[in-house]
Amino acid sequence: MAERIIELRDIKKSYGQVYALGGVNLSVDRGEVVGLIGDNGAGKSTLIKILSGVVRPTSGDILVRGKPVTGWSAARSRDAGIETVFQDRALAVQQTIVRNIFMGRELTGFMGFLKVEKEIQEASRLMREIGFTSKVFTPHSIVGQLSGGERQGVAIARAIYKQAELIILDEPTTALSLTETAKVFHFVRQVRASGRSILFIGHNIHHVFDIADRFVVLDRGKVALTTDRSEVKSAEDLINFMEDVAHPGGLPGLHDGGETEQRAR
């Protein structure tokens, strides 16, 4: 059995009286692409923030490679080999590409001074590796001058720099052109081929369906379904299932219903 990179056990998160997550179990194994889908407000963002250490869960356990961790934080999460490409890409738009790639883990030498040349070399290498090269921008370019797809490239380059074990992609294809989406997909397959894992979060079920090995459907703070790709025939199956979950009585005339519910476990 493949090594378990991270496991969340019975994670709960409440903001005051409101439960964003009500006991979520989720795990990601080495070399697999997990597609996390769910409607707005299902708790996807909260779950990602917990995985990346930005938000601490109210209760529940986090296990990294089978060992429970304490004092979970953004820095701890990165140390554990988890890199997150946030939906808003979390870029500092007035800074250069280099500064964004090395944000929070600047390459330093003597007394904390930056190894500028080394950073530029590494940044160039990363950008080339993921195919986001151009003659128009350089590692010195200000991120604010780049297009949406190019910014996504910077965010991904930052994520792969440390040979991360697990890369979380939060809505990576939103607002991207077709070619840029294809680039992201190509990147995901590349990562899987290299034996690393990806948690792919998407609104667009077709995108998620195309790329993931396993699907996790989140609904109102709970996991409504976990299923392998082999058990789902088509993206429509997933969509139908999600509609069933969201509207248990069924919305008249929207779908035939019923069929996918048997697969829920």
């Binding site: 953004a74 500092a92 738009v93 007035q94 883990r105 904390g112 921008f137 604010g144």
Partner: protein, 349 residues
């Protein structure tokens, strides 16, 4: 020295051949001079303002501007301003503001005066003043950052509070430190070399060191990122609050040095020490080309801004105008500089 202000993308990179792109990715410009200008446009703009201003003054009254005394007097007081302008560039870049530095100057130099008056070595006094400055900076920073207060209002409050404390305890009385003139510390920090006030050398060293800290050090990099996008910095594991507190501590250190220098120039400590620096120092930061919104800035520009502001008063009077013109020219320079910088640098969101 000041790096990566604004690489220009309007003129696409023109590498000679495709396969050497990686190597030539060093810089967006094909010529080092062009790259230098693009990287430093804010500080070069400030330098331009300064040169034009000085040219106008010199044309108005050429003879006065050939006398050394004029420059000597500016070089005596300018260093005091530089020691606070530079740390303030860090604070503004970090997306905050600190209006408490005049009181910190007064408070730290008070500690210096007390130590010297008690008969201890002035070096010890300087060390005590710097530690006081650090502690006050930490106090102000913690109040703003951990107390979650607006830095504009909270530091204004701290400025009044600390100055009030000084006034209450000293009841307006100054302290004369006549013994200072014979101390080795005075010779090192406040005498003259070949007629040049020695403070300016220390100030230049401080500016150079700070510029390196700003452009080539992890601290500067993190200050810029926090000022640019604090959420993003936090997501990337930067301790945003700690970085913010650090910039206030830096201002505390700068203000302590500035206050100590001003006492050494005058051999006297006044309970109002530092008060007059609030507005000129703030003006210098923004005249220097550091924008108000955070994320970017220029240390060298701030230093040139301080030089510009220092020369306004001297220049106006030396040019033959009455002192009543000083404020008008102060305002004129500030407004013209801001317009210039707005035209010179685009804002990215």
């Amino acid at each position: 020295m000041s790096k990566a202000m604004e690489p220009d993308l309007q003129s696409p990179f023109s590498g000679s051949s495709g396969d050497t792109v990686g190597k030539e990715w060093r810089h967006p410009s094909d010529h080092w001079l062009r790259g230098f200008v693009l990287d430093n446009r804010a500080s070069l703009g400030t330098l331009g303002v300064f040169i034009v201003m000085m040219a106008v003054f010199m044309i108005a009254n050429p003879t006065v501007f050939t006398t050394w005394y004029l420059y000597s007097s500016v070089l005596t007081t300018l260093p005091v301003a530089l020691f606070v302008v530079v740390p303030l560039v860090f604070v503004v870049t970090c997306g905050e503001i600190d209006l408490s530095f005049p009181a910190t100057m007064g408070f730290a130099s008070w500690v210096f005066a007390l130590v010297v008056q008690a008969g201890y070595d002035p070096f010890l006094g300087i060390a005590a003043a710097v530690i006081t400055g650090m502690l006050l900076g930490f106090l102000v920073g913690s109040l703003v950052v951990y107390g979650g207060l607006s830095s504009l209002i909270a530091t204004l409050g701290m400025n009044f509070l600390l100055r009030g404390l000084i006034q209450i305890i000293n009841e307006g009385k100054s302290m004369a430190l006549t013994g200072l003139a014979n101390s080795p510390a005075y010779k090192i920090f406040s005498s003259q070399i070949l007629g040049i006030p020695v403070q300016i050398f220390w100030a230049i060293a401080f500016v150079v060191l700070s510029a390196m800290l700003y452009n080539r050090h992890r601290f500067g990099a993190q200050v810029k990122v926090v000022g640019d996008n604090p959420d993003s910095a936090q997501q990337m594991g930067i301790d945003v609050k700690r970085v913010r507190v650090k910039v206030f501590v830096f201002v505390g250190i700068g203000a302590a040095i500035a206050g100590t220098f001003s006492v050494m120039i005058n051999f006297t400590w006044w309970p109002t020490a530092g008060d007059g620096y609030l507005l000129p120092v703030l003006a210098s930061v923004f005249v220097g080309g550091t924008p108000t919104w955070g994320g970017i800035g220029t240390v060298v520009g701030g230093a040139i801004g301080a030089v510009t502001v220092s020369f306004i008063q001297t220049g106006v009077v030396a040019a033959g105008l009455s002192g009543f013109y000083v404020q008008f020219f102060n305002g004129l320079i500030i407004i013209l500089s801001l317009l210039g910088h707005k035209w010179n640098q685009a804002r990215y969101r």
